[in-house]
Amino acid sequence: MRGSDSTGQSRGRGLVSPVHLVMLIGLFTALSWGYLAPGLESSGLAHRLDASLVDSGVESRVTAVLLNFRAYDTLLECFVLFLGVVAVWSLRPVGSDRHDPPPGLILSSLVRLLVPLMVLVGGYLLWAGSNQAGGAFQAGAIVGGAGVLLLLTSSPLLSAFPKGLLSWGICLGPFFFLLVAVIALGQGRNFMEYRREMAAMTIVALEAVAALSIGLSLAALFGGRRPEAHQEMAGQDEPSPGEGEER
């Protein structure tokens, strides 16, 4: 934490003052006491969850909590991510920070090999989420990682990606989620209450859309700026995804 700056102003930078130190130690003691104190034992919600797991439509308990029992949290979280992208794009000028030289043959070949594999792994995690560890977030993280890899290597695959799709893909997740929630409300059920026999299908659809949206949002956050849409679109007319893979 100690600042290594050599400027005159850096005196005391990064050093906790004694008053703060005492307060922080006090806070740690209080928190530890709260954690270690007896009488706080609770089995949590695990038993109640197990009892109603059959109603959720999925076998994975974490997925059941995320997309059924506490789907409201996930809805809000999708919107937080969406607002994050909106805020970052509003704060930074349109364009790109990266003016790196084009990557070498090995790096670009590796990226071309890895990115489809990462998308495949993301799809697998999405599918696995219904009965084991996995789900929309993990899949979204892998897809986002693929996007980060493409951004870091300023891959030509990026320019093959239609820029309009980025904005639409990012919006799709939260608003599809909201739509599902509101439809339930319109049909006389509670907010985000799925129809029992449709629950499994609804969750899979929500997860697929959310994973795509989360992945795109994470990559967009990493990019840090809104990519130029029109200039690059004008340069090439509607490249198909297959065409992009060829290069």
Partner: protein, 107 residues
């Protein structure tokens, strides 16, 4: 009684939280504050995952779901904070809160 691994993980989580808080208070540079907030968040996540395994035999999935949600939220908040810090750096050419305050006092 808390098992030893739970004790180690739980206390480490709390310690990370307090260390992050110390960094948040004492570092004047914006980037360090953002990193400190991330360390705090990591401490909270570690703690939540620990109490999920907690004291029963059954693992409570609710804290796990909260951590998954929290990770995404912390990524978004970090990105927004970084964008704000970049903006401050670009418009005022400073990355240190004390200099911002000093400049505010001059005016």
């Amino acid at each position: 009684m808390i098992s030893t691994p739970a004790l180690v993980y739980g206390l480490t989580g709390l310690l990370l939280f307090v260390v992050g808080l110390a960094g948040l208070i004492s570092c004047a540079q914006l980037l360090r504050k953002i990193l400190a907030a991330n360390i705090m968040a990591s401490g909270v996540f570690l703690f939540l995952v620990t109490i999920a395994h907690g004291r029963g035999i059954v693992i409570d999935p609710v804290p796990h779901a909260m951590v998954l949600t929290g990770i995404v939220v912390s990524v978004s908040s970090t990105a927004v904070a970084l964008a704000l810090a970049c903006r401050v750096q670009e418009t005022a050419n400073i990355h240190d809160l004390r200099k911002i305050r000093a400049r505010g006092d001059e005016r």
